[in-house]
């Protein structure tokens, strides 16, 4: 069913239950908002979206008012403009006016609206809250002086991700968003997924930058900077330079990294293939031995900390494989160093990730296979784009180049790691062939692809019905985890293999990706990865020649003791943190 209404005199027909705001958009009228986001539940906090509705008194919030048949809506009038300007002035009077220094400069929704409504001077006396900036987290900085209280981060953290690390605190003008009293971002239950950062309209929550440290390493003649690039970065970084979401930019990325002075460029896709060999072997081992099931993937560091904090009883189910980032980091400082006869202490391992949680993962004390940090610095997609701009690199116009050999070759199975369902699909492609010795006829597992939060399937593996589940977004993970936990307690089977990614859509929607990082953009990035997969000659991890070579020359076989030493890890029960205040 649909309803017809007029917006500023324009007739428009929209489906039932459409908000007035969306109906206006259908009539090509953009109603300003500061709190609403297309991916989130509208809450009506900011009041910017007020409109006049014929026959009704006062103004109505268009984000939470349903369009009705015959409605006449007026979205702009002297009164409405004055009120909107008034709200902006009120917000700005309480806001530090440091736009030029702000990380969100140019991407800030408050700044954009202030410009749109021509707030040239403020009638109010300014005030600042003088709150200390919370720099305790390795992934996320929290600056409540800039918070406008829209509540998007609270919704992401509590409802979408169900981490519940931050919430509103205090009331009235003193309201802030904060972890529990006595805790900071660094020692709270925060898993560093960065979805709060993604949805923050201003500069109140942002990634902890490591740009200066990386420049220092690049500029140090004694250091050899070795970079790796995660699968999801290649289909998103173009957005920072005016390209479309999903456009494959890996060749440009190799060129740009070399151009800014990185010495060696590898690709995390290589270690994604390696992960499949290690994890696939682990899976086949469990199938042989009858469990424990399910095996759960371990690539997503946000998910790992989530499991350690909220489901430590399932840590035995989680694959012992390090994430591809950490695997490659470990190999750079061991295998690569040996091969090239370089003192590993001279190597600076830099990874380019779509993710804020990777910054935390890299600093986990157990991640030091060579005795040194596997990964020294983690830059998000946004940070590396800033560095390219600082270096004067015209990214969009770059020629494509190739990475350095040894740890960079990859198959289609690796590139889809960046999308929810990708690890599962890659693992199935390899596990099937390793288990059965037969070649897969159909290698596209479309049932595990796509943006849905929970995907389930049963895959026939030569007579064995393998039950699998794929989830993205931690709230969705909880649904599956509760099922697993309950089944485990009863000693009943649930699934054989489960893929969990902390962020909606998988890594392409990670907390470090270009802004805006909406569901719609994530879907397009996802398409970009599957397109690359389709175009590659090799699409199964075990067919990767460099992977074959590293096993032959260095690691032995998947699951070997050296592989275990370098490529596997252990986990920590953090349940205490969830229930103890301080």
């Amino acid at each position: 069913m649909s309803v017809s209404l007029t917006v500023d005199g324009n007739k428009v027909t929209v489906p039932d239950h459409t908000s007035v705001l969306e109906a206006a958009a259908a009539a090509h009228i953009s109603i300003p908002t500061l709190c609403r986001h297309e991916d989130l539940v509208p809450k009506g906090a900011c009041g910017m979206c007020i409109v006049k509705i014929g026959g009704q008194t006062g103004f109505k919030r268009s984000c939470v008012t349903e369009a009705r048949e015959g409605m006449s809506v007026w979205t702009s009038s002297p009164e409405i403009r004055d009120i909107r300007r008034g709200i902006l002035e009120l917000v700005l009077a309480a806001h530090p006016a440091d736009c030029l220094q702000c990380i969100k400069h140019g991407k800030c929704e408050l700044q954009t609206l202030a410009e749109r409504f021509e707030i040239r001077d403020l009638h109010y006396d300014r005030y600042t809250r003088g709150l200390p900036v919370d720099q305790t987290s390795l992934g996320i900085v929290r600056d409540m002086n800039k918070c406008i209280g829209c509540g998007r981060c609270v919704e992401m953290c509590n409802e979408t991700q169900t981490v519940a690390s931050i919430f509103f605190r205090g009331r009235g003008a003193d309201t802030i968003v904060a972890p529990t009293i006595g805790k900071s971002m660094g020692d709270s239950v925060c898993v560093n997924c960065g979805q709060c950062v993604v949805y923050c309209p201003v500069g109140a929550l942002y990634e902890r930058e490591q740009i200066d440290e990386v420049w220092k390493a690049i500029d140090d003649p004694d250091k050899i900077v070795v970079a790796q690039i995660a699968p999801a970065v290649r289909v998103a970084i173009g957005e920072e330079f005016g390209l479309e979401p999903g456009e494959l930019c890996i060749g440009k990325l190799y060129s740009a990294l070399k151009g800014m002075g990185v010495d060696v460029v590898f690709d995390t896709n290589f270690s994604a293939d390696l992960t499949i060999l290690e994890e696939g072997t682990e899976l086949l081992g469990r199938i042989r031995e009858g469990g424990p099931f399910p095996l759960i993937t371990s690539c997503s560091p946000g998910w790992i900390k989530f499991c350690e904090t909220f489901y430590p009883e399932l840590l035995g189910n989680v694959s012992s494989c390090k994430s591809p980032q950490q695997m490659l980091g470990a190999l750079i400082k061991t295998y690569y160093a040996t091969q090239r006869e370089i003192d590993p202490a001279r190597l600076v391992s830099l990874s380019i990730m779509p993710c804020t949680a990777k910054k935390f993962e890299a600093r986990r004390p157990e991640m030091n296979a060579s005795g040194l940090c596997d990964v020294d610095f983690v830059l998000t997609t946004r940070e590396i784009a800033r560095m390219f701009r600082q270096a004067g690199i015209c990214f969009a116009d770059l020629d494509e180049s190739a990475p350095d050999p040894l740890l960079s070759g990859y198959t289609g199975a690796a590139t889809i790691f960046g999308a929810s369902g990708g690890v599962m699909e890659a693992a199935l492609r390899t596990a099937y062939e390793l288990a059965t010795g037969k070649s897969l006829a159909r290698i596209d597992f479309s049932e595990v692809r796509g943006m849905q939060g929970v995907k389930e399937a049963t895959v026939d593996m030569d007579g064995l019905a393998v039950k699998i589940a794929v989830t993205n977004g931690l709230g969705n993970a909880r649904k599956i985890l509760d099922t697993i936990s309950a089944a485990n307690k009863l000693g009943k089977p649930s699934y054989h293999f489960v893929e969990i990614m902390a962020c909606s859509g998988g890594c392409i929607g990670g907390g470090g990706q270009p802004l805006p990082n909406t569901q719609a953009k994530r879907a397009r990035r996802m398409e970009g990865l599957y397109m690359e997969d389709r175009g590659l000659a090799l699409r199964k991890s075990h067919e990767n020649p460099e992977v074959k070579r590293i096993y032959a020359e260095f690691l032995g076989s998947p699951g070997s003791s050296l592989a275990h030493k370098l490529l596997h890890t252990s986990y920590l029960d953090r349940r205490e943190a969830a229930s103890a205040s301080s």
């Binding site: 519940a164 605190r169 009331r171 529990t180 009293i181 239950v189 229930s579 205040s581 301080s582």
Partner: protein, 170 residues
């Protein structure tokens, strides 16, 4: 319907009970949360705030994430998560009290105790708060000491009240 737990009252005689024991009386239904918080805030001798350990117990009991629970606690002005005095003086400064002298009373109490609103005396005996209405405007000006409403205040009456508490504390 589940039997209602006994109504907990903020500032009733300090309960010697342990927070664990107190929580046993409350079903895990959030409608009892504020009542439980009132009682826990007053558990143990001379206490008027909720400790970290107590908030953890409440969070576990009601299955509420800690950050959210602190979000609830910090919304309501009668609760505190930081140490306060053993006696909370809530001085009313509603319009009805203001026109009958509450500002003079506030200045007097401020000078006498050496603290302004929101602060605690150094000896840890008094915390002074200004509130917006105690609902006894016919007998204004008013204040509440812990759970007790005291009306028709004069400066002398306030002096006697504070001195009496000090004496009892020493």
């Amino acid at each position: 319907m589940e039997t209602a737990p006994k109504t907990a009252l903020e500032g009733k005689a300090p309960s010697p009970q342990q927070p664990e024991t107190i929580l046993q009386d409350y079903p895990d239904r959030r409608d009892t949360l504020l009542s439980a918080l009132h009682e826990i805030q007053r558990c143990g001798a001379r206490k008027s705030w909720i400790t970290d350990q107590e908030i953890s117990l409440v969070a576990q009991h009601y299955h509420i994430p800690l950050a959210e629970l602190d979000g609830v606690v910090s919304f309501y002005k009668m609760f505190a998560r930081e140490k306060r005095g053993s006696h909370i003086i809530r001085l009313c400064d509603s319009l009805s009290c203001r026109v009958r002298g509450s500002l003079d009373l506030y200045h007097h109490v401020r000078n006498k105790l050496g603290i302004s609103t929101g602060m605690t005396t150094q000896d840890g005996i008094f915390t002074l708060e200004i509130v917006n209405c105690l609902g006894a405007c016919d007998k204004s000006p008013n204040l509440m000491v812990d759970n007790t409403l005291i009306s028709g205040l004069t400066i002398d009456a306030v002096d006697a009240l504070l001195d009496g508490i000090l004496e009892a504390e020493q």
